[in-house]
């Protein structure tokens, strides 16, 4: 199975900051290098940074951690202090330009030698529309049409430098092969972008694309363009049905046989026995704004051993390919994950013991896409 660690603030529970904070920087924001290195030692596939799901209006009550760092910069800051683990960032397409996103991820994928991935924030958790009040409002339909164009443009820009375009031929004074660098000349309803990108192709070709929008339009985009879908199913039967539906949809979208992977978003609230786990969940909830608690992902409340059984049963039942674990209190829970959960999964042969390669695509068994422009050379 695949395991990624979802990171938001001090943890996915709104009371996380009250229980145990991560080490802090001078200005009071959490430092993530320690937990990410712990996750790397446990050979997790990736850490995925997401914006808080807590509405910005909760800032007004003063008890909810609604801080929102720029996730692209956060994974950038981890590039030099990790070696193997995938580094994912949620980033919105709303109020942004495909050229900017393509360039940022090209840079991050190059700086991490192929370990970046993009969780597309389609639903707009990252931004509050009032902070972009001058921008035009799109209907829901137009929003998804624009999103599809955005993705098409970003992928073309990543492909605009073919593999091998950089020659660095000192003898002949030729840095790059202009025959392998293409304008994209995209003209659609929402974007017109000439290209090429100003940066070399990402080592992974395209950084893996994660999506988590469960609307029908969101699922359609995931089937056509996604590498991984993160789904929040609280119920196993529902998860099996969704996974079957999405596997079929991605096959039907004729994407060259590369099937969409499904990870379940799960918030495990763990303790040494069932009763303590239940008490822990209650205690956390009572320390929080209730609107914020309601926006949390589906939970598993129980013991580490119970979580191991839960995860293996779901994967065995075909409910998912793995999990995106959204722990309530990151600094406390990550050590439980690596000491009491991951080793048991490894012993049972349910999770690999070593990284299979060096890029995130290799970790996830995803094929590296060839540039859509590479045929044009002939």
């Amino acid at each position: 199975m695949y395991i990624t660690l979802s990171i938001s603030g001090h943890g996915h529970h709104p009371a996380a900051w009250r229980k145990s904070t991560l080490p802090l920087n001078v200005g009071g924001i959490p430092r993530y290098d320690g937990v990410v290195r712990v996750a790397e030692a446990a050979t997790l596939d990736a850490v995925i940074f997401t914006p808080p799901r807590f509405d910005k209006s909760l800032l007004a009550n003063g008890i909810t951690d609604v801080l929102q760092l720029d996730n692209l910069s956060v994974i950038g800051s981890l590039a030099a202090v990790t070696n193997s683990i995938g580094l994912g960032a949620s980033s919105p397409i709303r109020y942004n330009e495909p050229f900017n996103i393509a360039r940022s991820f090209s840079a991050l994928d190059n700086l991490t030698a192929g370990r970046s991935c993009w969780l597309i924030d389609l639903e707009g958790h990252s931004w509050t529309p009032a902070d972009f009040g001058h921008a035009s409002n799109l209907s829901i339909d137009d929003h998804y049409c624009r999103a599809e164009e955005f993705l098409i443009v970003v992928r073309k820009l990543w492909d605009s430098w073919e593999d091998g375009a950089v020659l660095a031929d000192k003898l002949n004074g030729m840095f790059a092969d202009s025959g392998k660098i293409h304008p994209i000349n995209y003209a659609g309803n929402f974007f017109s972008v000439r290209g090429p990108l100003v940066a070399v192709r990402p080592p992974q070709g395209h950084p893996p694309i994660f999506m988590d929008d469960m609307s029908s339009a969101g699922k359609r985009l995931a089937a056509s363009y996604g590498d991984v879908l993160i789904a929040p199913c609280g119920d196993r039967a529902q998860a099996i049905s969704l996974t079957n539906e999405m596997r079929a949809a991605s096959k039907a979208a004729s994407r060259g046989g590369a099937a969409l992977k499904i990870l379940m978003m799960l918030c495990p609230i763990l303790a040494k026995d069932e009763r303590s786990a239940k008490n822990r969940a209650d205690d956390l909830d009572q320390s929080s704004d209730q609107d914020a608690v309601r926006s949390m992902p589906p939970r598993f409340v129980g013991t580490p051993a119970g979580l191991v059984s839960h995860m293996s049963e779901w994967v065995d039942a075909g409910a998912c390919d793995g999990f995106n674990l959204a722990f309530p209190v990151l600094s406390e829970d990550v050590s439980v994950l690596v000491q009491d959960v991951v080793p048991k999964l490894k012993q049972a042969g349910l999770f690999r013991a070593e990284y299979p390669g060096s890029t995130m695509r290799e970790h996830l068994g995803l094929r590296r896409p060839t540039s859509q422009f590479s045929k044009e050379v002939a």
């Binding site: 956060v74 030099a80 202090v81 009032a130 009040g133 972008v193 000439r194 100003v198």
Partner: protein, 460 residues
Amino acid sequence: MKKKMRLGMFIYPGGHHFAGWRHKTTPASRLSSLDFYVNVARLAERGKFDLLFIGDQLNAREKNGRFFGRQTSSNLDPISLLSALSAVTNNIGLVATLSTTYNEPYAIANKFATLDHLSNGRAGWNIVTTMDDRAALNFSRSAAMEKTDRYIRGREFVDVCTSLWDSWGDDALKRDDGKSRFCDTSLIAPIRHRGESFNVEGPLRLPRPVQGWPVLVQAGGSPQGIEFAALVAEVIFTAQTDIDPARTFRNTIHEKLARYGRRPEDLAIMPGLSPLIGSTEAEVFRLEEELSDLLHPELAMWTVSHLFQFPLDQYGPDEKLPYEEIRKAKKMQSAAEAVLSNSQRQQLTIAQTAREIARSRTHGNFAGTPDQFVAHVENWMSEGACDGFNIMPPYFPSQMEVFVDQVVPLLQKKHILREEYDGRTLRDNLGFARPARNHFKKLLSKGGLSEAIEGRAGAA
């Protein structure tokens, strides 16, 4: 005590000389890799540089509509790169160039606040507007915005960003579990900006940056650019090749500062300077020849044509430039006009002009021994021509190693350059005050860019 010289390290893939990437010591195939930049950043910190600086480019270089491959082009996104370098450095400033033309102020305020927090107070923002029509084509526009409009948008953009950074009071983040108080909401307020280009409600979802605001940097030399600089800039990067015009430029800026109640010591003017350093004059001569020989004739012609935005296919390398036709064809950036005038004054051929431009585009060049370099910069400093330099090594990393190992100790011995960092933040190291909340509104109320705006109204 002598005034300390400010030093920036201007990072460019391969080197600032157009053929620098071909030098035998340059890792030309590693220019998109982290290790190349980590090495440069650590060297600069060892040399006690104030800051690392990364430029920006939003369109690929072309020749006759096709990508032009004789120059390096691994333009890594500046903020992504500097966030990575924040983890491997402790004291050096991290200055990213970012355009106000094709971005959203809320997103950019969030990015720079993040970089400042990640680096514990070392972020700087080189505020630019994007003038190139070919960049517009990458952002669903058919042409660039008109210049004054770009600056007016830029002014409002900076107004929104500073307001967002100020939307949290300095002590608003509490994390007081006993009082159930994550933050003190009485110190956090929306900005409710309603302007010509932007409507932004705020507040930001981050505490005020460690430095209050990142250090604000500006680099335009036009009348609008100079007005903008007097309003916002704490560091100015400028292309100056001679002492007299550099001093005039600095005096002009200093005069304009008064309008805003700003003092000359609130600002550092740092011209670009590309030093080619050798241990003897004979070695320097050899290095210069070596670099010039690496400049491919096609790249040489392109270099000139590109800077002046003028096709030169009809001309040979040993001919003179068609100066008047070039001036008639297109309005040039101030720095390019200076290069053109210099070429005309010295009666240079196209090939000779190309050699000049290839050294450092429109910036200053120096070639000599470490002692000669120290004398050169001491002269600029004592003549009041600048507050320091943005150093542009012709090729990385070996010319940078020479600079750090041979030039820096001499500068320190003469007490021109610090021996240790003075503080932890970029502001500390540059000796700049932390801005008070809503300081930018006060500056704006004194008439930022008003001359340029009147100029626009007059032209209409």
